[in-house]
């Protein structure tokens, strides 16, 4: 047993940062290879390595925290700061795409017909599926809060049910959005409208999938009794991320779907 007089976690050496870096290298160079030589092998290898890295690195963190008890209150505080900073960086990521959208839509150029939506674009009706999607994500925000309170109050069955419901709502959103993408009368190649629409909503959709996956891992962990009523930061981090995804959607809905129609 390590003897230390402080409450911090001096992490054991790990190969996953290196495999992660190698994965990043293979994915980026693989992307270039795909563009120029039509082979996806290198990129595929990089993606596989990335998935393996994520699985094993986060598995190790769960082992260190839940099974070995290294996540003392100060360590948990650091993890909280980390997640908040990460989500903040993601906010800035989306800010860029909103900037692009407003840059093009506030002063539409003559090439677009001097109007927004541009000439020839039939935007999606904001009061049809997009409104349903808004309701779905808002409801999922309620269910994830229900799940949190259930965990804090020691209600196992309710925690599992509300967390599962949250994930189902997330999948429903993704399904509806996929249908919308398929049926949309415009594509990503349709000028700056298509570009801003699909890049912004596309990255959002990717984040919904990431958030749903994070919540699904939390569901498995909750079923396996990892969380205690006082200490369940993995779940809180997933809930924060999910709320962030919800808020981004609200901005997307107001800006692109509603104002932009």
């Amino acid at each position: 047993m390590a003897h230390q007089a402080h409450a911090y976690h001096m992490v054991d050496p790990s190969p996953w940062p290196l495999t992660g870096a190698v994965a990043a290298l293979l994915m980026t160079s693989g992307l270039a290879i795909w563009f120029h030589f039509h082979s996806t092998t290198l990129m595929g290898l990089g993606m596989a390595l990335l998935l393996l890295t994520m699985y094993q690195w986060w598995r190790d963190i769960i082992r260190e925290g839940t099974f070995q008890g290294h996540h003392t209150p100060p360590v948990q505080k650091g993890l909280r700061y980390g997640m908040i900073l990460f989500i903040t960086s993601e906010v800035f990521f989306f800010l860029g795409f909103f900037w692009a959208f407003y840059h093009s839509s506030l002063a539409p150029t003559p090439e677009l017909g001097g109007c927004w939506p541009p000439t020839g674009i039939t935007p999606l009706d904001p009061f049809e599926v997009p409104l349903l999607n808004t309701a779905v994500l808002l409801a999922s925000g309620v269910t994830v809060t229900w799940a949190h309170h259930s965990i804090m109050e020691g209600e196992r069955k309710q925690a599992i049910q509300s967390l599962a419901l949250t994930i189902l709502l997330g999948f429903y959103f993704t399904f509806l959005q996929a249908m919308e993408y398929y049926e949309a009368p415009f594509t990503i190649a349709d000028g700056v409208y298509g570009a801003t629409f699909f890049v912004a909503t596309g990255f959002h959709g990717l984040h919904v999938i990431i958030g749903s996956t994070f919540l699904a891992i939390c569901l498995l962990r909750q079923i396996q009794y990892h969380f205690t009523s006082e200490h369940h930061f993995g779940f809180e981090a997933a809930a924060w991320y999910w709320h962030f995804v919800d808020v981004v959607w609200l901005f997307l809905y107001i800006s692109i779907y509603w104002w932009g129609s």
């Binding site: 047993m1 003897h3 230390q4 007089a5 402080h6 409450a7 976690h9 699985y55 099974f67 070995q68 008890g69 290294h70 996540h71 003392t72 209150p73 100060p74 259930s150 965990i151 109050e153 020691g154 209600e155 196992r156 069955k157 925690a159 498995l220 079923i223 396996q224 009794y225 969380f227 205690t228 009523s229 006082e230 200490h231």
Partner: protein
């Protein structure tokens, strides 16, 4: 990978449900609380458990809390916990000072800060384990 995890999770839940239909109360797993989510008292382990248990008894062997404030006089010296014969002390002689006065505090009689003269006393603590 995730598939195997999901399968194992489903099996655990199903087994638990099967067992509970036979026995009134499910076995070792759900004694956590009556409602099924364990508490830190039941489940915290390792360093986290030691730290939390110590705090519960009013002790802070891992220095998680802000140190107590002392006058720094001869009668009320700053008490500095230490696990060895000496410990580094950094004295902020006055609030908002940017230059910290560092010195080794040795066991034995209280020492004074070379700059402001406040008293510091090393008190021996066992290395927590």
């Amino acid at each position: 990978m995730a598939g195997r995890l999901l399968l194992r999770a489903c099996t655990t839940t199903t087994t638990l449900q099967l067992r509970s239909s036979v026995v009134a109360r499910p076995l070792h797993r759900a004694i956590a609380t009556a409602k099924g989510v364990p508490t830190d008292e039941e489940q915290a382990t390792g360093l986290e458990r030691r730290a939390l248990q110590a705090l519960k008894h009013g002790k802070d062997p891992y220095s998680m809390l802000k140190p107590k404030e002392y006058a720094g006089t001869k009668e009320d010296p700053h008490i500095v916990p230490g696990i060895g014969p000496k410990r580094l002390v950094g004295c902020l002689c006055e609030e908002d000072n940017t230059a910290i006065v560092w010195f080794w505090l040795h066991e034995g009689d209280a020492q004074r800060c070379p700059s402001c003269g406040s008293h510091y006393q090393l008190v021996h603590h066992e290395l927590p384990h």
